[in-house]
Amino acid sequence: MDTSFTYRLAQEAQQEVLFLSGAIDNQAEPLFGELQKRVSGPSLILDFSDVGRVNSMGIALILRCLKHLTRERSLQVQIRGVNQINGMLFKMSGVFLMAKEVPTRTME
């Protein structure tokens, strides 16, 4: 699962969802800058189901992205699909203070 970082923006009902994939580390920085510009809002779900390793540099990217979207653009952002280790890191670093975790949508 630890491949290069990619993302895909999609619509679920009338909700914008950003599907993130691969490892989130310093190599993901250019795409993180790009993806923020593509989001139109007013609310967004960040889906981490296909994300592998997130290191401290990746946490910094996520926090920067959330700060931009929630504080500067006033979007309501939610997070889903976080695995156990990344959930620990998100709690430790305050990611969940900026975006609430919601259950992953099950396939019907």
Binding site: D25, Q27, N55, L63, Q84, M88, L89, M92, S93
Partner: protein
């Protein structure tokens, strides 16, 4: 590299339960013929080393998967520190930007040691800079503990993760000569 006095005293910081740990590095990373030692030559060595350790643990059940994920993150953070945070100019500024691949200098060394006995994983990374200090270690742990207002640019987050995820964390610093960061991870049942 910084000028060094070979006999300068080392700072040893140990964080974790003291039970069953004898003083010194031998107690924290018990020597064994199973210990694997790898010399890192460049930043491109990092993914293969991580894969090697993950493969050794295996991902046969949730407990092993979690241990492998923790190990991968720890090696990642320790090598990022050794490759990019440790090399410092005389004025203390970082010598290498973090997104650029780099090779080690001729007189620079990064050594990774690890051992897995089926229950414990011991990990250790040594760099030949010795640029970390005791005050920096405690400052990094303190500022990241106060995470009421998340700051993307907060420094020392990698060391903070090591402190929180390792069962034991140790840091030994010979100023200007060597920094050793190591710890152990325990295979633990995963709650459903």
């Amino acid at each position: 590299m910084m000028s060094t006095t070979l006999n300068e005293a080392a700072t040893m910081i140990f964080i974790g339960p003291s039970i069953d740990v004898t003083p010194g590095l031998d107690g924290l990373f018990p020597d064994s013929t199973d210990t694997v030692v790898r010399q890192v030559c460049c930043s491109a060595d990092k993914p293969a080393l991580i894969e090697e350790i993950v493969a050794l643990i295996g991902e046969k059940d949730p407990a092993h998967t979690l241990l492998a994920q923790k190990a991968a993150l720890m090696v990642d953070e320790m090598l990022e520190n050794a490759l990019y945070a440790a090399p410092r100019a005389a004025d203390g500024s970082a010598l290498y930007p973090q997104r650029e691949p780099r090779s080690l200098l001729p007189d620079e060394q990064i050594t990774v040691r690890y051992r897995y006995d089926g229950t414990h994983l011991f990990l250790e990374v040594r760099d030949s800079w010795g640029s970390l200090s005791q005050s920096k270690v405690f400052s990094y742990l303190a500022i990241n503990t106060q995470e009421t207002e998340p700051d993307p640019d907060r420094t020392g987050r990698g060391l903070f993760f090591m402190w929180r995820l390792f069962d034991h964390l140790y840091v030994r610093i010979y100023p200007g000569r060597e920094t050793v960061v190591g710890g152990s991870l325990l295979l633990q049942p995963v709650r459903g």
